[in-house]
């Protein structure tokens, strides 16, 4: 496969074929990040389009010496997810996370698999209730497995802030998962 650096240079010169190859290479990463950060497949589709149209627009301003392409792409993805999430909140105060409804069609699954899925669903829904500062940090750390240094760069925060950010995010998650966090409809 063509060297990513070459593709980046070609894309920066306005070569849409190279851009398509970059898209092919990174669309899965962006889309899955967006699914986990927005909790909604349709929003993730929107984010995917937003991210890559932004990337196309920014081909003249991206500086490979300042940030690795993938780090820069993560940053745009996080920002678009946050923008999207805010817009959705304005439109619909309590959006339901369709992507996290894993058990809707699970009537025929073995009981233990349903339990497993329920656990995952509960956890993902708790993640979706975290705020825009904590949710992306968890996805970057525990889905993308990124080191704190990269997370700091993506979130544009000091390295020293990443430690408490992730620690607090896990703490908030534990609170969300505790039985006391049941809302008045008995729903987690």
């Amino acid at each position: 496969m063509e060297d990513t650096h070459k593709l980046i240079r070609r894309w920066q010169r306005g070569d849409s074929q190279a851009f398509e190859l970059l898209f092919l290479k990174y669309e899965g990463l962006v889309f899955r990040s967006a699914v986990l950060m927005t909790g909604n497949r349709q929003q993730a589709e929107d984010v995917l389009q937003d991210v890559f149209t932004s990337v196309w627009d920014a081909r003249g301003s991206y500086n490979p010496k300042k940030a690795k392409f993938i780090t820069w792409l993560h940053r745009i993805t996080v920002n678009r997810c946050i923008d999207n999430h805010r817009r959705q909140k304005l439109r619909q105060p309590c959006p339901e996370s369709d992507a996290f409804e894993m058990v809707a069609d699970s009537d025929d699954l073995p009981e233990e698999e349903v339990i497993n899925k329920l656990e995952c669903q509960r956890l993902l829904q708790a993640v979706s209730r975290l705020d825009d500062r904590h949710r992306p940090a968890l996805v970057l750390r525990y889905f993308h497995d990124l080191p704190y240094r990269d997370i700091a760069e993506i979130l544009d925060i000091p390295l020293g802030t990443v430690k408490p950010r992730i620690h607090n995010a896990l703490g908030l998650l534990r609170q969300e998962l505790s039985p006391l966090a049941l809302d008045n409809e008995g729903r987690f």
Binding site: M1, E2, G14, D15, S16, Q17, E20, L21, F23, L24, K25, E27, G28, L29, F31, R32, V35, L36, R41, A44, E45, L48, Q49, F52, T53, W56, A99, F100, M102, D105, S106, D107, D108, L109, P110, E111, E112, E113, I115, N116, E119, C120, L123, L124, V127, L138, R141, Y142, F143, H144, D145, P147, Y148, K163, P164, I166, H167, L170, L173, R174
Partner: protein, 435 residues
């Protein structure tokens, strides 16, 4: 340090983000403090659960094949098209090769092993046996069954167990009816992490234009199974006479072994090493009908041994593949249906072959990438592959070989074992029981 201070350090400690001095302080404290050890276990469990939930959730979805179209439209509206001429492009076709899956470890092994079974055109071959077979090629293959067993052994992951065995059973009535059952486990790769979910099984039918699948299983999983077992896999190609014998010219160091009888059928028996890689294979071909009867591929490196045993049988038996509907034509409970076109986004192969550029520059990686995307997107990938010029076929082989060489060995394994109502997750030697 007091417990509260230590608590604040547990997350970065588990994430491997503490400096040496802090790490030693935490470890010294943990040795003497049961409460902090419990807190550590709780945090580790939550991290593990998050990883599993994220991974399973992310694996459920793929971007819409339409996504690129929207972006391309955006670019087109902004400025005139680039000066480069595009003979034929990915953008003509809605399906895209799944690089994430394609580049990740064992799946690539499966693809490459399988590609060993892909056959170049028979016509060039002058072997006497092949010439004889070509003369006899009028025998029509109408139906057959395939079973494929994959035995995987992760040498550096003894906690997974000695081996993992997966079995798929296929019934095929040509030209366009398939019934398949996959048993036991589902193996997926994401972010360089392989996830093995035991007790994952499903069944589906692809009949004419329609796909029928069990509620709960998803078309994308079926698609990946079909792609994996269609052409890029040893069980993939239709085991016609041409296929059965054409495979031989694809093998170095071809050695004919004494004939063997498989299930009462006398077979020609060959062994050798496919044109690339070091994936020895053995092939059994019916002595009288020249149908391929069995292929065994074995992949081995210092971390993974995989054996693929593919058996073809019941040739031209009366196999009846009917959709899961009752006498009134209504779907049986628990089944769903969708058109294959919408589920898989496959492109009719004959629409695309005419577009193949005989003079394409196969030293250009874009051209190879484009062809691979096409192979992944057409209804009959092998037919497409065969239609490519020889240089193109070789370039694809070389590409897949390089992908395999670059990716295997970096894979991390997370295993989920569901049994007795408990979910056990094993990752890098650490075991967590979720419930």
């Amino acid at each position: 340090m007091e417990c509260k201070d230590i608590h604040d350090l547990l997350t970065p400690y588990l994430d491997g983000e503490l400096g040496e001095e802090e790490r030693q302080i935490v470890e010294a404290h943990l040795e003497g403090c049961r409460r902090c050890r419990e807190a550590l276990a709780t945090t580790a469990g939550l991290q593990q659960d998050l990883r599993l939930a994220f991974s399973l959730e992310a694996d459920r979805y793929s971007p819409s094949p339409q996504a690129w179209h929207g972006i391309r439209q955006y670019i087109a509206n902004q400025e005139p098209p680039a000066a480069t001429t595009k003979k034929r492009g990915l953008s003509l076709f809605p399906f895209r090769f799944n690089w994430k899956a394609g580049l990740a470890g064992a799946l690539v092994v499966a693809i490459v092993v399988g590609l060993a079974a892909t056959v170049p055109p028979l016509l060039k071959h002058e072997n006497t046996v092949l010439a004889k077979a070509a003369a006899a090629a009028s025998a029509e293959l109408e139906s057959y069954r395939v079973s494929r067993t994959t035995i995987s052994e992760f040498l550096d992951k003894p906690e997974i167990g000695p081996t993992i065995t997966n079995r798929e059973d296929w019934e095929i009535v040509l030209p366009n009816s398939v019934h398949a059952i996959q048993d036991h486990y589902y193996f997926s790769t994401s972010q360089g992490v392989a996830t093995i979910v035991y007790d994952y099984s499903f069944e589906f039918y692809a009949i004419g234009e329609n796909l029928y699948f069990q509620a709960g299983s998803r078309p994308d999983k079926i698609e990946s199974l079909m792609n994996g077992t269609n052409i890029f896999s040893s069980s993939g190609g239709t085991p016609t006479i041409e296929y059965g014998l054409g495979i031989l010219q694809f093998i170095f160091e071809l050695e004919q072994l004494p004939n063997e009888t498989l299930d009462g059928v006398e077979c020609l028996h060959y062994s050798g090493v496919p044109r690339f890689g070091n994936i020895p294979c053995e092939i059994w071909i019916g002595k009288n009908d020249y149908f391929i009867r069995q292929v065994i591929n074995r992949y081995e490196d210092d971390r993974l041994i995989q054996t693929f045993i593919t058996k073809y049988y019941d040739f031209n038996e009366d196999i009846d593949i009917q959709p899961p509907v009752d006498s009134s034509g209504s779907l049986l409970s628990g089944w769903e249906t969708e058109s294959i076109e919408s589920a898989f986004f496959l492109v009719p192969v004959y629409d695309t072959i005419a577009d193949i550029d005989e003079n394409a520059d196969w030293s250009n990686p874009d051209v190879v990438l484009e062809a691979l995307a096409m192979i992944g997107s057409v209804t009959e990938p092998y037919t497409y592959y065969q239609a490519l010029p020889e240089e193109g076929q070789q370039a694809i082989m070389d590409f897949l070989k390089s992908v395999m060489a670059g990716s295997v060995g970096e894979i991390k394994i997370t295993t989920t074992i569901i049994s007795d109502g408990k979910t056990t997750v094993i990752s890098d030697g650490q075991t967590t029981i979720i419930k």
